[in-house]
């Protein structure tokens, strides 16, 4: 039994070291002087972190960071808001066409996101919205998974009796939604919010084809272009990658339970 346990630990520790390795390399390579990076094996952290920080934290990088941040916040707010409203209607009302419309939403969940991309980009040009952040935020407005998620959550966790009694007391429907249903929804909102934020923060393709002005770049675009900005300074660019990942790690540390529950919830419950 003891030998078995030791063996288990050895296997797991080795496997997790292998898996942490590229991630760890990203962290350490950012602390090197660029010239040394390719001469030695950069396994242990070096002492050049502050210099690299000075190089990479330029006004344009900070601007990319800010763009990514506010786009992700608006994307998340828009997506979660619309999904909660729609989910409320599907979970708590009876109305004509409900079954058909809900089935339609489930069906659209199967359609890959890239399918309409070319026409979406053209449409944005017709509306003169290319080279703005609007397409990135708009793409959060039709989140079929979010509607499904909100409807399921509302069916199981928002008591209908509370809504009924509020209605008898003369509460209007928007107020019922705003001040009675929303508080019940907080766990679902934070889960869906995390997933949306993650999706927006990591989005690379849509900004790639709708934005070509550097001052409007979001972080993934800015990072991908760091190599042309500081062609020789690899360490600084790698530090940029670390800084781009940092918010995700912070989000994960604070919300790992919520996030894991949200990501796995649908499949595990079956």
């Amino acid at each position: 039994m003891r030998l078995q346990k030791l063996l288990l630990y050895v296997v797991l520790v080795l496997a997790s070291l292998v898996f942490l390795f590229p991630f760890y390399m990203m962290l350490t390579m950012g602390t090197y002087y660029s010239e040394d990076l390719f001469k030695t094996l950069p396994i242990l952290p070096s002492s050049y972190l502050l210099e690299n920080l000075k190089t990479v934290v330029s006004p344009s990088f900070l601007l990319n960071y800010w763009n990514s941040f506010y786009v992700a916040v608006l994307f998340t707010a828009a997506s979660v808001g619309v999904c909660a409203m729609t989910g409320f209607a599907f979970a708590k009302y009876e109305f004509r066409g409900k079954g058909f419309l809900y089935g339609f939403i489930l069906l659209t969940m199967m359609i890959p996101g890239q399918l309409g991309l070319i026409a979406f980009v053209m449409e944005m040009k017709w509306f003169h919205l290319n080279n703005t952040h609007a397409p990135l935020i708009i793409s959060g407005l039709n989140n079929a998974f979010g509607v499904f998620f909100m409807t399921q959550f509302m069916r199981s966790s928002v008591p209908t009796e509370v809504i009924e009694s509020a209605r008898i007391d003369g509460c209007t429907e928007p107020r019922i939604f705003g001040s009675i249903v929303i508080p019940f929804l907080m766990p679902a909102i934070s889960t869906l919010g995390l997933i949306c934020f993650l999706g927006s923060w990591n989005n690379y393709l849509l900004p790639l084809v709708t934005i070509n002005r550097p001052e409007l770049y979001t972080l993934p675009l800015g990072i991908a272009n760091l190599s042309t900005q500081y062609r020789t300074d690899y360490s600084a660019s790698i530090l940029g990658l670390t800084l781009g990942t940092l918010p995700l790690i912070i989000l994960f540390l604070f919300g790992s339970k919520t996030l894991v529950r949200g990501l796995t919830g649908g499949a595990v419950k079956g």
Partner: protein, 309 residues
């Protein structure tokens, strides 16, 4: 009468609540999808061509375009390599982590999940630098250890380029798979395992006859979504060849060995001198056909497997 009025009042609201979603969906999702279908029957481009050409784009793709078939072959090959590995190694590692003998479960879960939390853009770039020809870590390490005498151009060779992409996807997604399996295993009732132990089942029997069958719904979900996502893969190889490592700024990698359909769609529609929206649209719809086909086959196969047992 009063009751009826109440019902009517109630009836207006659900429609108002769902209107924004369906409005946005119609304008920003349904319309583009339908219009892309129309585009795929035209030679629409940036330079003013707007002619309806019927199925010509598709004929060209299916019968005369070796890039299309190569990109499709690539993504299917990649899936065939990393998906079985993810499922098998994922279930094994998850059952090791969730075993009663292991104490620091969170540490192990987090270390495997760290890859999934890394921005996808960073992943392509890190691997490009690790496997860089001149100064990459892998070459330096292998020379230090005396395994090779000359630096190998990993990213310049089509076979090794493919393995690097497969490794990258495997590395990124193992933590995601583990998370699902861990959650699934935690939801299996402990008494099932205790009963098996009392009956004298070996760990191997428990894994094969209890854990795997009970994880079936999770596997169904993971396999189908991985196939759908895998056929649409684009960012990882694209950033691997975005010019960070020495001499690696090329579309599709060496010989197009890591070209993918969606990358092809991008290249046809938004890149350099082509801007052929019609062709890009046809690639999008052809890829979608393959996705629909493969996910149907995948679901059928997994379900039939379940019925026979």
């Amino acid at each position: 009468m009063a009751k009826l009025a109440g019902l009517n009042r109630k009836n207006k609201w659900p429609y108002l609540f769902i209107t924004p979603y369906f409005l946005f969906y119609a304008v920003f999702s349904l319309f583009p999808i339908v219009f892309t279908l129309y585009l795929s029957f035209t030679d629409w481009d940036l330079f003013g061509n707007r002619n309806f050409i019927g199925l010509d784009n598709y004929k060209q793709l299916f019968f005369n375009d070796k890039f299309f078939w190569k990109s499709m072959f690539n993504v299917i090959l990649f899936i065939a390599c990393y998906l079985p590995a993810l499922v098998l190694i994922g279930m094994l590692l998850a059952s090791l982590i969730e075993s009663k003998l292991i104490k620091r479960k969170t540490f192990f879960r987090l270390s495997f999940f760290s890859a999934y939390m890394t921005t996808p853009v960073a992943i392509g770039i890190i691997f490009a630098l690790l496997f860089d020809w001149q100064g990459g870590f892998v070459n330096n390490l292998f020379i230090e250890l005396g395994w090779i005498s000359e630096k190998i151009n990993w990213l310049g060779d089509s076979t090794s380029a493919r393995w690097i992409v497969i490794m990258m996807v495997f590395w990124k997604n193992l933590g995601y798979f583990l998370m699902f399996y861990s959650a699934g295993m935690a939801s299996i009732d402990n008494s099932v395992y205790e009963a098996a132990q009392i009956d004298g089942a070996s760990p191997k029997d428990v894994f094969l006859r209890i854990t795997i069958p009970l994880l079936k719904p999770i596997n169904l979900f993971l396999i189908v979504t991985t196939i759908i996502g895998g056929l649409q893969m684009v960012e990882e190889p694209m950033l691997l060849y975005s010019g960070w490592a020495s001499g690696t700024s090329m579309v599709g990698g060496p010989d197009g060995s890591v070209f993918t359909p969606i990358w092809y769609m991008f290249d046809a529609s938004f890149n350099g001198s082509s801007f052929k929206y019609g062709k890009g649209a046809a690639i999008a719809y052809s890829t979608f056909l393959f996705i629909a086909l493969f996910s149907l086959v995948g679901m059928k196969w997994l379900n039939r497997d379940g019925d026979s047992k």
